[in-house]
């Protein structure tokens, strides 16, 4: 990664990085070193995966071998989990990087005949830790003990002893716990763990699932207390630390061409500010995608990496359509500068979209991002949710100094494009497109409704989509455009 990612929280304690994208930023560097962290949540929320990633990354990237005491899963399942992270459990064990001890507790099959303690568990743990000189330990899920052993007084005393033992041995540990009805964990493990508690949540709303992570407490560290959406995919967990980024970005004064010289003319002859956000709204067929494609092509021609999120059409469709208006984008795709990413808006929830967008941006480090169109996202959620998601996305893009372009489909007769108005306040530049038919001749009209920080032209122009790309025609005197525009920041039309 060429550019360092912004740090949100400054580290103040020794930390053990988890290697999980986003989580280390939210926690200011990772989990408390030499301490016990509780990760809790309901079944299937990703606790075990988080714990395993912590171990695997620790062993592979940070030179800290790890021991997992697994109370629940079988070796098969666990190996599949580790394999999904791209690692082979057996190979890691052979290289003395990771050791797993499967503890099976036969439910209610153990008769209790007097006093006992859990020294057997301690011995197994100590034996494994010693065998590979482990620095990290995962106990997943230690609550299984409660289902096998009935004397909870002994159990609680032993758990307390176990957590002290881990700290005495300077082991950084992750303990997982099942969510309880009124408590964080079913058996109140949070009472024993003072240093760091992370809660995971998996909720389904309108048949769309969203995963969220929250740092409930982290002693000695200021941490983001918000809920962060996270994603589980082939590469494991990634957390999106967004809400805390707001307004920390600095504005750039560099300019980038819109890709159309005559449109650059309208914006002080220089085009957009680098790192600014641009909204292009218009009715169907007015050239929104063409305008974005034109912008991307210009960026690629400068040698910049562009990421194009297509929520409506497949990449091949876009490429074909653009070719028909004289925009051949294929060479840039082949050159590896232009990346298309097509997604069905309804396939996953908004947060997951956001997480996916973040992930790709982190991977490709583009300087231009196009989202075409944002309208389709509205179909999966309310306008308010879309606005809050876009706000976080725009903030993120600004921090990363990425110039972003969002297209927005509007409908003729809609009292100036309600969705557009809802999100336009987030945007630095808003270009409105519309078609009209004065004197029976169809034409497209373009108007720069606002562009913060510059003296832009307020004159509507004709947008000509020809075989050789886009250009602007003459200033329109008989336009239909401006009179209907009444969004924030709107101005009186030019005389």
């Amino acid at each position: 990664m060429p550019r360092p990612r912004p740090k949100i929280v400054r580290p103040s304690l020794a930390k053990s990085p988890t290697g999980i994208q986003g989580l280390d930023e939210v926690t200011g560097g990772g989990l408390p070193k030499g301490r016990v962290t509780l990760v809790c949540g309901s079944a299937g929320c990703g606790k075990s995966l988080l714990a395993m990633e912590f171990l695997v990354h620790g062993a592979v990237r940070y030179g800290e071998p790890g021991v997992c005491i697994d109370f629940e899963e079988t070796e098969e399942k666990l190996r599949a989990n580790v394999a999904s992270l791209g690692f082979d459990l057996r190979a890691l064990a052979k290289r003395k990087k990771l050791l797993v001890d499967f503890v099976s507790i036969e439910r209610n099959q153990i008769a209790e005949t007097g006093e006992y303690n859990l020294e057997g568990l301690f011995i197994r743990l100590a034996h494994a830790v010693k065998a590979i000189k482990a620095k990290r330990v995962v106990l997943d899920s230690i609550e299984a003990l409660f289902s096998g052993l009935t004397d909870s007084t002994i159990l609680r005393a032993e758990l307390r002893r176990l957590f002290h033992w881990l700290e005495d041995h300077k082991l950084t540990a992750v303990v997982t716990g099942e969510a309880g009805e009124h408590t964080l964990t079913r058996h109140g493990l949070e009472e024993y763990i003072a240093d760091c508690v992370i809660s995971l949540d998996h909720r389904v709303r309108d048949q769309i699932s969203t995963r969220r992570l929250r740092v409930i407490k982290y002693r000695g560290t200021s941490h983001g207390t918000d809920e962060y959406p996270f994603l589980i995919d082939r590469e494991g967990i990634s957390v999106v630390p967004i809400t805390s980024l707001a307004l920390a970005h600095k504005s750039l004064t560099d300019r980038v061409s819109t890709g159309i010289p005559s449109l650059d003319e309208m914006m002080e002859g220089k085009g957009f500010f680098r790192g600014s956000s641009v909204l292009i709204s218009g009715t169907a067929g007015t050239g929104k995608s063409s305008l974005s494609a034109n912008f991307t092509r210009a960026a690629c021609a400068r040698g910049e990496v562009c990421l194009y999120f297509a929520f409506e059409e497949s990449p091949s469709q876009i490429l074909r359509n653009m070719r028909s208006v004289g925009l051949n984008l294929e060479p840039w795709v082949k050159k590896g500068l232009l990346h298309f990413h097509a997604m069905r808006p309804t396939s996953i929830g908004l947060e997951a979209h956001l997480a996916a967008v973040h992930k790709l941006i982190a991977k490709l480090r583009p300087s231009v991002v196009v989202i075409d169109p944002i309208t389709n996202l509205v179909s999966i959620s309310g306008t308010y949710d879309v606005k809050s998601m876009l706000m976080r996305l725009v903030d993120f893009l600004k921090v990363e100094q990425i110039t972003s372009m969002f297209t927005n489909l509007t409908f003729a007769g809609d009292p100036q494009e309600r969705t557009a108005a809802a999100v336009s306040s987030l945007m630095d530049t808003w270009i409105v497109l519309r078609d009209s038919k004065p004197n029976g001749r169809p034409r497209r009209e373009l108007y720069v409704l606002k562009s913060r920080g510059m003296a832009h032209s307020r004159e509507p122009r004709e947008l000509i989509v020809g075989e050789r790309g886009l250009e602007l025609g003459n200033v329109l005197r008989d336009h239909t455009l401006v009179t209907t525009v009444a969004g924030p920041g709107s101005v009186a039309p030019a005389e």
Partner: protein, 108 residues
């Protein structure tokens, strides 16, 4: 067929034939471990005289053995024979629970 003929025999006779192979896991000479050994010997002498064998495993000396029998609690007593394998935990001070847990039939 052998099984069914064995079943027909009176229970006292079959218990006389069973040999108990017991393994007691301890961790050092703690009060619970010492109590468990003493309790186990007493119960066995009482109920299984001549028909048992006790092996005491100290996990402090042989930690690698904890995994095989899935030992978590100390002391743990494992009945390795006769099958099925049974496991009971604690210092064996509750004699009745031990007898039930090990499925010891009284010798007649």
């Amino acid at each position: 067929m052998k099984k069914s003929s064995a079943r027909k025999r009176p229970p006292a006779k079959s218990s006389r034939r069973a040999f108990y192979r017991l393994r007691l896991y301890i961790a050092g000479q703690t009060p619970n471990s010492i109590a468990a050994i003493a309790n186990l010997k007493r119960i066995c002498e009482d109920k299984l005289r001549g028909k048992y064998n006790i092996e005491v495993v100290d996990l402090l000396k042989k930690p690698q053995l904890a995994k095989g029998d899935q030992i978590i609690a100390i002391p743990t007593l494992v009945r390795r024979l006769p099958p099925p394998v049974k496991k009971i935990i604690g210092n064996l001070s509750k004699t009745e629970s031990v007898i039930v847990g090990l499925d010891l039939q009284p010798v007649r």
